[in-house]
Symmetry: C2
Subunit: 497 residues, 2 copies
């Protein structure tokens, strides 16, 4: 597959100079059209021709309107990156909608180097390919146009270029272990790369393989691939808009279908704790959590807690019982409200990725990524397609956290509508809690049936092996607080040495 493209393609100077101006003009026109539509474009540059990748990387700054370009060359990860799940460094570099991101290396080089290094065995490499395929699909679904270019030179040429670089006292510093790994295992690399390229070559995120020995051929082919990809994205977007109009009409009928089965009604809302017992249990569990959190820090184990539940269900109170038990420097509480414009200009999971804690820390989300399939679904902020595919995206996200060794707990705090109303009334009477109640709370209350359907579907679809939902009755706040603490303590205990 790779060797077959090395047929000695060349482009003469005349042809190059004749073709380039019109293509550049079209490229910039297309870039602006896509920008106006809020598309982001993400270009992945990678291949055996590392030198060529850098030359193309330079060209891209000339060809595109550089004001809307965001380029990242992925060197070896920093300590802040190593302490987070693998893809954190890629998430933090994602371009905002309307921008063209250029990534050199990124997750493709990461996967190949890890396999060559032996960090991944065959099975793990296959799993990584699946992971990448899902990750790229998620970006594409979110309106990102992914353009993946593999620049290829044969072994002899690769070796020649690498040797030349490594002998130059200044160039040598840029040759990192991954280059040598690729050369040393070139004969393994080619079939591995082919497996990877095939496994991630999908309809929405196809690969373009480019012979890179002749620079003019390479540049012209890249330029043509870019304009074709951008043009194609615009055409697909036109078609999608027409299709969306039809789908919206169908959607109106479909929304009435409430999924069967009600996991919430199975929660025992009579569970309660006496004040005295509560005090004892709270003290005991907080002391336990205090020490577990300290041990987790010593062992570099991070914890992520996600809290969902009805308004006034007592999320804040439960969270405070946790944060009061843990040393302040080890815990951070992130309340999730409506997204900022910056957050809106990214995939909805981006804001959660960027908050992920360093090794040994605890992060608590007061509301979470589940907003996508709760409030955004019910209020219509996300389209049917968007929230439907969110279940799989969320499962992927949580799996990555757990695979990185993070302790993940997610809680649904349940209260009855009557109890909720009592609490709203009580809040109105307590001065410093008045700010906690808004018109929105009352509006949400009116849509309880829609929310019940959404919660049920959420729990059924996202209770996975790696991340189970903990449904906690919060009718009695004391019971809920103790139960939450207990779950967190048990999860940490199970994970720590």
């Amino acid at each position: 597959m790779l060797e077959t493209i090395a047929v000695g393609n060349e482009v003469g100077k005349d042809e190059y100079e004749e073709s380039v101006p019109a293509l550049r003009e079209e490229l910039v026109e297309l870039q602006h059209e896509l920008r106006e539509r809020g598309f982001s474009v993400l270009l992945n540059l990678v291949g055996t021709d590392t030198h060529g990748c850098e030359e193309v990387y330079d060209r891209l700054h000339e060809w595109f309107d550089a004001r809307y370009l965001a380029a990242t060359a992925f060197d070896l990860p920093s300590d802040e990156e190593r302490e987070r799940p693998l893809f954190w460094r890629y998430w933090r570099a994602l371009p905002r909608h309307g921008r063209v991101g250029v990534h050199y290396g990124a997750w493709t080089l990461g996967a190949l180097a890890a396999r060559l290094r032996g960090d991944l065995d065959d099975a793990a490499f296959t799993a990584r390919i699946d992971h990448v395929e899902r990750f790229e699909r998620m970006l594409a679904d979110d309106g990102t146009l992914l353009i993946k270019l593999w620049l290829h030179v044969p072994k002899k040429e690769f070796k020649k270029r690498l040797k030349r670089a490594s002998k130059d006292p200044l160039e040598a510093q840029f040759v990192d272990e991954r280059d040598w790994l690729m050369l040393e295992h070139y004969d393994d690399l080619v079939p591995l790369a082919e497996t990877y390229l095939r496994g991630t070559d999908t309809a929405s995120c196809p690969w373009t393989l480019i012979e890179s020995t002749d620079a003019r051929y390479r540049d012209l082919t890249v330029l043509r691939a870019l304009t074709a990809a951008l043009r194609g994205a615009l055409e697909r977007d036109d078609a999608a808009r027409r299709a969306a109009e039809v789908a919206d009409a169908e959607d109106a009928g479909a929304q009435d279908v409430v999924p069967t089965g009600d996991v919430l009604s199975g929660i025992d809302t009579t569970a309660a704790l006496e004040k005295g017992e509560y005090g004892d249990r709270l003290e005991e569990l907080q002391a336990r959590l205090h020490s577990l959190a300290a041990r987790a820090c010593a062992q570099g184990v991070s914890t992520v807690l996600a809290f969902e539940g009805w308004d006034a269900a007592g999320k804040g109170g439960a969270i405070r019982r946790i944060s009061a038990a843990v040393r302040a420097r080890l815990i951070r509480v992130v309340p999730i409200a409506a997204p900022t414009p910056e957050e809106k200009a990214h995939h909805y999971l981006w804001r959660f990725w960027r908050e992920l804690p360093r090794a040994g820390r605890m992060l608590v989300f007061d509301r979470s990524w589940y907003g996508r399939v709760l409030v955004e679904r019910v209020e219509g902020f996300a389209s049917r397609d968007e929230w439907k595919r969110a279940y799989a995206e969320i499962n992927d996200f949580e799996q990555q956290l757990v695979e990185h060794g993070i302790v993940l707990c997610k809680f649904w705090l349940e209260i009855t509508p009557d109890e909720q109303l009592r609490r709203f009334d009580a809040r109105r009477d307590t001065g410093y809690k008045r700010y906690k109640i808004t018109d929105e709370d009352l509006r949400n209350r009116a849509r309880r049936d829609d929310y019940v359907a959404a919660v049920n579907e959420m729990v059924r679809r996202t209770s996975t092996d790696v991340a189970r939902w903990e449904l906690v009755s919060s009718e009695d706040k004391r019971w809920a607080r103790v139960r939450v603490l207990e779950v967190v303590c048990d999860a940490l205990s199970a994970r720590l040495d």
Copy 2:
């Protein structure tokens, strides 16, 4: 000063429980009022009572509306932080307007630990105090309410608490070198802290010293200090609004005063290069820059280049001649357009701080922080007070870059109005450059006189020892590109071993 506050203050349980509810209620009301006005609040917690600081840090999460709280405990810096100027880690943690930031340790602990460790001598410590004082004033000027709390316990108590923590196998990991340093040099620490506290105790950012031996006294005093500070900020804001109305009226007259002296007219706009000579010089300088950039990377020396100039003066072209010469992974070009809402919700320098490169990299700003005293001044986006004080803030910022060892060059590209018009016309005729011209460009052109005044004042006020302006005639693009390359090469040469 510090020992005098240790007089054994205590608060009984009854007094505490009577006083707290009303204060908490007031605190939340004040927090929301300030939030609506777009104030940010930044609380610095520090002192010999490290244990008490963490307890208060917890309390703050209970007392404030935690949804608008952003807390950071500053441990030892990460590698990403160590590779940037000292204050980068503080900038990246600054709360956005409307939020309450809680910083534990931060620059106060940083300064004291550095002095005790011997990283700073007396003169450098004094300079650091000046720096902190200017930094805090800058935040205060920008509408941040700074509340600085020093929690104090006497040596005996400090020693007891630290020993107890260090003997506990789980607590011991949180005792870092800075704690031992403070204990070991406690007798030096007290006078140093007093010098620091006095030097940074200003009208807009005063210190509150709190005896911390009795937890109830400490908490109640903190709560009182917070409500008083927030209340005071609101009152000052009311007064400032009234004053601003008067000032605005005066402003209208003041804007006509054009500063004397015209540095721009001193630029020789006839400087030019023949095509042949240009080609030779360009090639030679790009080769030189290529190698210098690689050496800079090897030596961990970063470079920051700022480009300003008239629209169509050729900033982009000059920058491309630089980026084409440097390996793509070593250079990043950041075009500065109108700020995003996220950027607007911070100090105007925040967006530049967050972009600062890791060690050994080159960062190019296509337009820069000078927008504050150029477009924002002329178009009225910044008030007279804001752009007036920006000169000193910018000089401070640049000094920090240079003190960190960064090579800093700033360019003004000058063209005559006639040449500018010719280029606008030419752009309209070149398809792929059409997007580079906007109505704004034409509007700016009409205000050339205002801009000339602003540029003159900018150059005069911000050409400092550490960061001189390079005024480059760009009437002939070839001349400008070569000159820019030459300046960058010379600056790098001078800095490298």
